[in-house]
């Protein structure tokens, strides 16, 4: 399938006269985003997410490596007409909302009735049509972020690149933006989104990549990534809670987790103690757990006491 975004062995170093050593923001970074998918781009602060996005938009050039956006090399002005971009900490000229969006639409080659339609539908999409006549200078941070999204949507882009699009939004606005993004996906458009709101990402993204210190740690579909804890949760009843360490009593029932390899042994133990197995389910970890695990690897000796071990 054709790719929406493609990074090929990109490294980026920030150099400055005042600093002796350059800052390595990205190191041998490769990533492909397919058309039509919602791709979550995750990583701790300073991981290099914004750097990677700015490279794709042509705001800067890689120190080495190359990349393509909608099959054209990064930085191609014509290609950007088909892309909508929202920067983190968005900042727009202080004009009336409608005029501001009109200005950005105009820069993308829209004019006349097409521009009017674009402005109207973009403001409606982010629920700011009732504020169209107000100056952007009077907007709250969340409203500004929605304005940023509106200017990204004005040209009905094929690819949306969003750097922390919902960080300042209230819960209701977050839900409506999520629906907007899902609607976008249903139209076959591509969304590349960096975010720290992992629960949001879990709800909208098909695939995610986790970046740390400029290197890609993990990439895959959410399904694959979250299913692979290697643990199962067993629920049993009529059994004493002293049989399994770290088990949880839940009414009449006992809940505990064991590694998949020891599942059979655990079930036989339940039976031999006179209990009944109620359910066995693979443990899905949350994206947050995976994120923390990958980005803050805890030394082995700290996790020695694994839960659910058979005593």
């Amino acid at each position: 399938m054709a790719l929406a975004l493609e990074y090929e062995g990109i490294s980026k170093e920030y150099c400055s006269w005042s600093r002796r050593r350059p800052v390595r923001a990205l190191q041998q970074f490769s990533l492909s985003v397919e058309r039509g998918e919602v791709f979550g781009f995750l990583g701790p602060n300073g991981a290099g997410k914004s750097t990677a996005i700015h490279l794709a938009m042509g705001f800067m050039r890689p120190t080495s490596g190359a990349g393509r956006m909608l099959a054209k090399p990064f930085g191609d002005a014509g290609t950007r007409r088909r892309v909508g971009f929202l920067a983190e900490n968005v900042s727009l000229y202080h004009r009336r909302a409608e005029a501001a969006i009109g200005f950005y639409g105009g820069l993308n080659g829209l004019h006349g009735p097409a521009l009017d339609r674009g402005v109207k539908s973009a403001l409606e999409a982010v629920d700011l049509h009732s504020e169209a006549g107000r100056s952007v200078s009077q907007f709250s941070r969340g409203m500004l972020q929605r304005m940023g999204l509106a200017q990204a949507l004005v040209n009905d882009p094929e690819l949306l690149i969003l750097d922390e699009p919902t960080s300042a939004l209230d819960p209701a606005a977050r839900v409506s933006i999520r629906e907007l993004l899902l609607g976008f996906r249903n139209q076959g458009k591509t969304i590349f989104l960096s975010s720290h709101l992992l629960s949001e990402v879990e709800l909208v993204c098909d695939r995610v990549a986790i970046l740390s210190h400029g290197r890609l740690l993990r990439i895959g579909t959410l399904k694959e990534m979250l299913a692979t804890t290697g643990q199962v949760e067993i629920v049993a009843h009529s059994i004493s809670n002293t049989v399994f360490t770290d088990s949880m009593v839940d009414g009449e029932r006992l809940r505990f987790t064991v590694p998949i390899g020891r599942q059979r042994e655990a079930i036989e133990r339940v039976w031999s103690e006179g209990g009944e197995v109620v359910s066995i389910n693979p443990v899905r970890r949350s994206l947050e757990e995976l994120f923390l695990e990958l980005t803050n690897p805890v030394p082995n000796d700290v996790v020695a006491g694994e839960s659910g071990t058979v005593s």
């Binding site: 705001f59 050039r61 892309v83």
Partner: protein, 236 residues
Amino acid sequence: MRPIVLIATNFAREQRWPLFFLLLWVVGWATFGIFADPRSGPDDALMIFRQLAVYSVTFGLFFGSSAIHSDQRSRRILAVLSKGISRGQYVAGLLAGIALVLGIFCFCMGFTASWLLGRYGFSESAMWFGMLALWTVCTLTASLTLLLSTFLPPLFAAIGAGVLAGIPALLALRGDTFSKYVIPVHGLLEPLIGADFAESWNASIGLVLLAWIEVAVFSLGAAWIFSRRDLSVSVE
């Protein structure tokens, strides 16, 4: 072309307050003209006129040095350059915006001057030619500053442009003919600044054309360098 016009008018809009304060000076000058006694001679009016000419060049340096930097510092440049425009179009838009602001100022100044100095017997057409020369000089120095600001901090860009434009002007003042054509600030401003009733104001149209060619060269240079540089937006 349309993106350039949009960026230019947007720039002029953003600079409406500096322009407003510049125009206040012109209004002050006009007010002075109303109350001055026409028989007392033109010296005071001419002095204010020269002051205004110097201000407009200074503002040209200011606009040129800060245009790209303030867009980067405020992060507003990101939304602009994320659209389907090239860096060259962006630079051209800014320069056109600077020329527009300075053009409005020079026009208002010319309008006032033709009435005020006209009372002392100045030729009106020479006056308007003088305004064209002043506008040209302002835009020329602004374009040079804009070029330098693509790789220097604003203050250094302004100082650098002042020095680069000042050296040929000084050499020309000492009679060097070639220097007259390199950034022809002196050649264009001399008739204006030194204007008195004994001389007629005549900057050569050839110099004006040459200056606009240099504006084009500087802005192409600015576009070329800026397209090869990383944006340095503030992190906030």
